[in-house]
Amino acid sequence: MNDAVKNTDIVIAGIGQTPVGEHWQLSLKNLAYLAYKAAVQDSGGLKPDALYVGNMLAPVLSHQAHLGVLLADDFGLAGIEAAAVEAGNAGGAAALRLAYLAVASGCVNIAMALGVEKFTDQVGPNVEAAASVILDSDYEAAMGLTPNAQAALLLRRYLYEYQVPRPAFGAFPILAHNNAAGNPQAMYRNLINAESYAQAGMVCDPLNLFDIAPWADGAAAVIVARRDSLPAALPHPLARISGASLATDRLALHDRPNPLFLRAAQKSVERACRQAGILPQDVDFFELCDSTSTYAALSLEAAGFAAPGQGWRMAQDGQLALDGKLPVCTLGGFKGRGNPGGAAGLYQVVEAVLQLRGEAGKNQLPHPQRALVQSLSGAAATAVAHVLEVIH
């Protein structure tokens, strides 16, 4: 369990985020700088020695690669260690994993993980095509498959194998919108209900518009440091990273022995929790990845909160709500807050830290001590899990 707090703890000393949405007036750099500045300010002015940038699609959507130096230069930090990390939709979480490793190794004093994504410079078929580069290009994307269609294939099989009533999955986006309503940074703060869910347009059968988190612009950043390298007084409680793990599965859905079980998601939770010395059941809330309704259910199963085929049931009786036994997506999740690609994983972490500090506003959980945060890319080909604990 929760060991005594140590000076060598790796902590999150600062967080920053932009609102998620359609930021026509802001570029990739503008967005990143806003998150950077907010995180530095939040930390009381710490400047990073190393910058790890999570991004999914800038080379395709913005014709811009080399993001490490692009952003370090823009922030006035030219000269520092800086590089981008690419792990699809989990890129931001992967950047945090690298920041953690860098600081834990002793090679870097203060690291920043920053996720940024700019979707809205492209529209429609170009965005779908861009998002499909995270799949196996020759054998999945070439057949017209998209990340959303992968989730649709899994949902169809899930409904068939476990005989689940189709409307039951609506509980996930309904919950996400409920929670997003209390998050001023979220993209969708409107409520939806079972009727509107039933009428939503089909995107890739059986997934409808409300089952799929919207791609959106955004940037989020966290500052990672060893506790003993921080100034004595920070204006907020610290969150300790007590477990961190990144795991991979077979990339293509068709190559997996059991496509309905997200093995990388399981492994990442297992390893992060083992490092933290806890069981998944010991966390107070779970920031899971609901990039589609399918993955919300499959994540609950992979993490061991529900048996295979039973994850959807947890959404039916309120146990995932803010006042439930295991709150999830407490500030709206991907569906309500929006899905800013390679920044999404860091939004999840920022949101978990807000809860742990008691700064989550209307959606504040009562005194949470420990969070499990998991980012998935597509059908969890990459899965990243972090266990965060508040230090009082």
Partner: protein, 136 residues
């Protein structure tokens, strides 16, 4: 245009050529460098029969660039008779509703179009209902 990229895959796209592992006899599609069953190098070609069953399917109404002219189209996971699962579009469906377990067979069709009338047409495998196949 990416001609070499598609040309390189002609055996897979036109004839469903995968591999059989010389060490453990696993049938592999798509071909890989390392056999997922035994972890040794897999390099022996193996021609799949092109017969299989629908494992799952989805009809796509929101297409990526290059596939808009096919809308709506159906992509499926096909469990081949020899074991592996392959991702492919379904075609020649007519009014027949697609069902999990439905027997299908491989055919060669146009799978994407690049740009205008001067753009490249990419052909490859799709699967159609195998009306005469015995239901397993």
């Amino acid at each position: 245009m990416e001609i070499s990229r598609h040309w390189r895959l002609k055996k897979q796209r036109y004839s469903l050529i995968g591999e059989v592992c010389p060490h453990c006899d696993a049938k592999i599609f798509p071909p890989r460098d390392v056999c997922p069953e035994c972890g040794q190098e897999a390099r022996s070609e193996f021609a799949f029969s092109g017969r299989g069953q629908v494992y799952s399917h989805t009809t796509i109404y929101d297409a990526p660039a290059g596939y808009e002219n096919n809308l709506p189209y159906t992509v499926a996971l096909i469990k081949l008779d020899e074991g592996p699962i392959v991702t492919a579009q379904l075609t020649d469906l007519g009014a027949q509703p697609v069902e999990i377990g439905m027997p299908v067979e491989m055919v060669t069709r146009r799978i994407r179009e690049d740009g205008d009338e001067r753009g490249m047409l990419v052909y490859g495998y799709k699967f159609r209902p195998a009306w005469n196949a015995p239901i397993k």
